[in-house]
């Protein structure tokens, strides 16, 4: 039991780490939002599941935190992406391709 919990904990921590690495490596704000949000969300959920296995009497409160995180984390990233989009920052595109108007801006 403890081994499974440890593996979950380690997996979650590695995902959190990869999300932070994505924050460093990605070239622009939209990609950073993607990398950060996804990895940190699943990483945190995995960590909390692992803790829930170590301490079975805490599962109800951990479930609350997981549900809360699952709702708010994508909302906050979408709100931030929308703010960035409305303030006029264009997404980065591959240097090889010529810069062009992306589909969303015309509407």
């Amino acid at each position: 039991m403890r081994l499974i919990a440890d593996i979950l904990l380690l997996l979650g921590a590695i995902f959190c780490f990869l999300g932070a690495l994505g924050l460093i490596r990605m070239p622009d704000i939209y990609n950073r939002i993607q990398a950060g949000t996804k990895a940190a969300t699943l990483g945190s959920i995995a960590i909390m599941l692992g803790i829930g296995m170590l301490y079975p009497e805490w599962w109800s409160k951990l479930l609350c935190i997981i549900g809360f995180l699952l709702f708010t984390s994508p909302v906050s990233s979408s709100v931030l992406a929308r703010a960035v989009y409305l303030s006029g920052i264009k997404p980065w595109s591959k240097p090889k391709q010529p810069l062009k108007n992306s589909a969303g801006e015309k509407s």
Binding site: L18, Y30, Q34, A39, C64, S78, A81, S102, A103
Partner: protein, 170 residues
Amino acid sequence: MLNRLNLHHHLFLFSTMLLLWVLLTGSIAVDELIAGVIVAAVVSLISAPYITIFDGIRYSPMALISVFTYLGYFFIALIRANFDMARRVLSPSLPISPELLEVETHLESKLGQMLLANSITLTPGTLSVELRHNRILVHWIAAPEEGVSLEQATKDIATGFEKHISGFLK
């Protein structure tokens, strides 16, 4: 006063509040439960007319089943998204070709559209940027080619979730 739909609305609100109470207190002792029932009843009675976000929910046994199939589908997508993102972050060449594009949805309720946008955000390589009427602006980290059409993008990104969500939301 209370028609059928309203009763469902009240019951749903009440049971959500009670569930939250039980989860937060973490005990099902009788006195805690009685306090929870009273608090949940008062809160749901007072706030029910002002809470409109639960309007689109379908109340039927089939809806409950589709909630669970949606959750399963969602978690598989979330795990796939993370391995996908890990591969992109770890590979030295950084294989991304981002693009902003639009996706169409047939869901009408606010909650359904929000759930769809949330799901899109947490699935492989997509981030919902803006929700306007029934179009969602999506940032796709690895668009297959330039200028993907609306229909193709909708089919690739939204349809899978929409099918599951439309089972329990209008």
